[in-house]
C-alpha cells in the first residue's frame, strides 16, 4: 500500500474512533440520567427553561436522534451550556485547552530529553552502579500511586520548603488581560483573537513581552510538569538503552572508535543518532500519556486546564462538560497515536497494512 493511501486510511480510522467514543459516552449519559433535560438546563432551571432545552436538544427523541443533533451542534459551535459554570462549554474549552496543551508540551520536551539522557547513560554504564540506580529509580516511581506522588511533591516543595506555588497556572495578579493576538474586528464589532495561543499562560506572556508573567507561569508549571514527567517514567529509558546496547556493538561504532574519535562523539554522534529512530515511534504515545495524566495532575494542583475541567465535571456530573471534555482529550490522544502510526508508516514500510 502506498504511503498516501496508508495515511488517509489511518486518518479515516481515527475519525471513526473519535465518533465511536463520542457515541459511547453520549449513550451512557443518556441511559444514566433520569431526566436529561434538567442536566442540560442546569439544576436551578425553571419549568419553562427545561421545556425550552427539551425542544432545543430534541430530548424527547430516541438517543441516536439526539446524538445526531448533538453532532450537528458540535459542528455549528453549540456545545451546550455547563450547568456548573453557567457558561457555554465551547468558551470554557477555549479557556482551558491551551493551558493543558502548553503544560503537556513543556513536560514532553523535558521528559524526552531526560529519558534519552538516562537511557544513554545506562547503556554506556550497563550493569554498573549507575545503571542499577536508574533502573530502581524508575521501577519505584512507576509503582507509586499517581496522586500520592503528586501530593508528595506538593507537600515537600510547596508546604515544607515553600519554594514553589501550590496551585493555578499563573499568579492571578500577574495574569494578562492583553492577549498577544487579540485584535478589534471592525466588521463584527467584536474582539477576536487566536485563542489557542492567547490562552497559553507562558507563551502569551512571552509574545507580549511581559517577563514577570512569563516567569510566574513557568514557576507555576514546575510541580505539575515534574509530576507528569514522573508518571510512567522509564519506558523511553528502556527503549533507548536496548537500541543503544545494540548500536554500541555494531561495526560502524567500532569503525568510529578506531578512527580515534572521542568517546563522546562516538556515543552521541554515532550510536545515539541511530538509536533514536525506533524511539521516534514512541513520541506520540508519550504525548498521549501526558495528556491523559493531566486529569490527575491538574486536579491535584488546581491547575486550571482541560484535565481540571474534566475532573470537576466528573465530580459534579456536569454532563455537557463531561462529554465535551472526554471527547476532546480523546481527540488529542487519537491524534498523537495517528502521528505515531504515520511515523511508523514512513520509517518502516512493512507496517503499512
Amino acid at each position: 500500500m502506498g504511503l498516501a493511501a496508508y495515511i488517509s486510511r489511518r486518518i479515516l480510522f481515527s475519525f471513526f474512533v473519535i465518533l465511536g467514543e463520542l457515541a459511547i459516552v453520549f449513550y451512557l449519559t443518556n441511559i444514566a440520567a433520569p431526566n436529561p433535560a434538567v442536566i442540560w438546563a442546569g439544576p436551578e432551571s425553571t419549568q419553562q427553561q427545561v421545556q425550552l432545552v427539551t425542544e432545543l436538544y430534541h430530548l424527547n427523541s430516541p438517543w441516536y436522534i439526539q446524538f445526531l443533533y448533538y453532532l450537528r451542534n458540535i459542528f455549528t459551535g453549540n456545545w451546550g451550556t455547563s450547568p456548573l459554570y453557567q457558561r457555554p462549554v465551547l468558551s470554557l474549552i477555549e479557556q482551558y485547552l491551551p493551558v493543558t496543551l502548553e503544560l503537556a508540551i513543556i513536560s514532553f520536551v523535558i521528559k524526552v530529553l531526560a529519558e534519552t539522557l538516562l537511557g544513554v547513560v545506562s547503556a554506556v554504564r550497563a550493569g554498573g552502579l549507575v545503571d542499577n540506580a536508574i533502573k530502581w529509580f524508575y521501577t519505584v516511581t512507576r509503582s507509586l500511586p499517581p496522586f500520592l506522588l503528586a501530593l508528595g511533591l506538593l507537600l515537600i516543595f510547596s508546604y515544607d520548603l515553600k519554594v514553589l506555588p501550590s496551585s493555578q497556572p499563573i499568579n492571578p495578579l500577574l495574569a494578562l488581560n492583553t492577549p498577544a493576538f487579540k485584535v478589534y474586528d471592525p466588521f463584527t464589532g467584536r474582539y477576536v483573537g487566536f485563542w489557542l495561543i492567547d490562552n497559553m499562560p507562558v507563551l502569551n506572556a512571552l509574545l507580549v513581552g511581559d517577563w514577570a508573567a512569563a516567569k510566574s507561569g513557568l514557576v507555576h508549571a514546575i510541580l505539575p510538569a515534574c509530576t507528569l514527567i514522573l508518571f510512567g517514567f522509564g519506558g523511553l529509558v528502556r527503549l533507548i538503552k536496548v537500541s543503544m546496547l545494540d548500536a554500541l556493538q555494531s561495526d560502524y561504532v567500532r569503525t568510529a572508535r578506531s578512527k580515534g574519535l572521542s568517546e563522546r562523539a562516538v556515543v552521541f554522534g554515532h550510536a545515539l543518532r541511530n538509536s533514536l529512530l525506533p524511539a521516534t515511534t514512541l513520541m506520540g504515545l508519550l504525548f498521549a500519556q501526558l495528556v491523559a495524566g493531566s486529569l490527575v495532575v491538574e486536579t491535584v494542583f488546581d491547575y486550571y486546564g482541560l484535565g481540571y475541567y474534566l475532573g470537576q465535571s466528573l465530580l459534579t456530573f456536569d454532563t455537557p462538560s463531561l462529554i465535551a471534555g472526554t471527547v476532546l482529550i480523546t481527540t488529542i490522544i487519537v491524534l498523537s497515536n495517528l502521528a505515531t502510526d504515520i511515523a511508523y508508516g514512513v520509517l518502516d514500510p512493512r507496517t503499512r497494512v
Binding site: L144, P145, A292, T299
Partner: protein, 274 residues
C-alpha cells in the same frame, strides 16, 4: 524478580490470613470508633496510627488486603480471558473473522483507557452509590482486553505454521482443539508476563478512581480510597494516607518486578535491558 515474588508472596499471604481470620494479625475492629484514641500518630499499640474517628489504620489496611489483591486479578483476568480467546481464534481462523475482530479491537485499543473508564464509571455510578465499587471495575474491564487480543494474535501468526501445529492438524484434531491444546499453552507464558505488568498499573489506576469519588465507597476499607481520604489531612496526619500508599506501592512494585523478570526471560529482544 525474586524481590518481586517475595513481595507478592508476603502480600497475598497477608490477604489470605486477613480473609480467613484477621484477628491473627490485628486485635482491633476496622470499624470500631474510639474517640479517646483519635488522631494518634503511629505507636506500638497502633502501628500505623489512628484516624479521625479513632479507627486503627493498620487494621483497616489489613482488612483492605483481600479486596485489593482481588481487584487486579478480576480486571486483568477478564481482559486476558476475552483477549486471549478473541486473539487466538482471529489469528488462527483468519479471513473475515480476523478482519472484524481486528477492526473492533483497534477501535477499543485507540480509546484512551483511563479517560473512557473514568467517564463510564462516573456515568454508571451517578445513579447508584453502592454499585460504584463494581462499576469502576467493569469500566476498567471494558478497556482491558484489546491489548491481549493483539498480543495473542501476533503470537498465533508465528505459531500457526509451526511444525507441531501442522502435525496436530494432520492428525485430524479439530480447529478449536488445536487452539486450545497446542496454541494457547505456548502463548500463555508471555501473556502472563504482560498480565503481571498490567496488574500493577491496574491497581494504581483503580486507586485514581477514588480521587473522583468512584471505586470503593466508605466504610469499605480499600487502599486507594484510604490514601484519598487521608489526603485532606495532609500535611498534619500523614500516616492516614502514607501507610496505605506504601502497601499499594508494594503491590504495584511486586507485580511490575515479576512481570519485567518474566518478560526478559520470554522476550529475548529485551534481554539485558532490565
Amino acid at each position: 524478580m525474586l524481590t518481586g515474588i517475595a513481595l507478592l508472596v508476603v502480600l497475598y499471604a497477608g490477604a489470605l490470613i486477613a480473609y480467613v481470620d484477621p484477628h491473627l494479625i490485628t486485635r482491633y475492629n476496622p470499624d470500631a470508633l474510639d474517640f479517646a484514641q483519635a488522631n494518634s500518630p503511629p505507636s506500638l499499640s497502633h502501628l500505623f496510627g489512628t484516624d479521625i474517628e479513632g479507627r486503627d489504620v493498620f487494621t483497616r489496611v489489613v482488612y483492605a488486603l483481600p479486596l485489593d489483591s482481588l481487584i487486579p486479578f478480576a480486571i486483568v483476568g477478564f481482559g486476558v480471558a476475552v483477549g486471549l480467546s478473541l486473539g487466538t481464534v482471529a489469528g488462527y481462523l483468519g479471513g473475515a473473522v480476523e478482519e472484524i475482530v481486528l477492526r473492533v479491537t483497534d477501535m477499543f485499543f485507540a480509546f484512551p483507557s483511563i479517560v473512557l473508564a473514568l467517564a463510564i464509571a462516573s456515568i454508571l455510578g451517578a445513579t447508584s452509590h453502592g454499585g460504584r465499587l463494581y462499576y469502576s471495575m467493569v469500566a476498567l474491564m471494558i478497556v482491558s482486553w484489546p491489548f491481549y487480543t493483539r498480543l495473542a494474535r501476533a503470537q498465533v501468526l508465528v505459531l500457526r505454521n509451526a511444525p507441531y501445529v501442522k502435525v496436530a492438524e494432520a492428525a485430524g484434531y479439530g480447529r478449536f482443539s488445536v487452539i486450545r491444546r497446542h496454541i494457547v499453552p505456548h502463548i500463555l507464558p508471555l501473556v502472563t508476563a504482560y498480565a503481571s505488568l498490567d496488574m500493577g498499573t491496574t491497581l494504581l489506576t483503580y486507586s485514581v478512581f477514588a480521587f473522583f469519588g468512584l471505586g470503593a465507597q466508605p466504610p469499605t476499607p480499600e487502599l486507594g480510597r484510604m490514601v484519598y481520604d487521608g489526603l485532606n489531612a495532609l500535611p498534619g496526619n500523614w500516616w492516614w494516607s502514607l501507610f496505605p500508599g506504601i502497601v499499594l506501592t508494594l503491590f504495584a512494585l511486586g507485580f511490575s518486578l515479576v512481570g519485567e523478570g518474566l518478560r526478559d526471560i520470554l522476550d529475548p529482544r529485551l534481554r539485558g535491558a532490565a
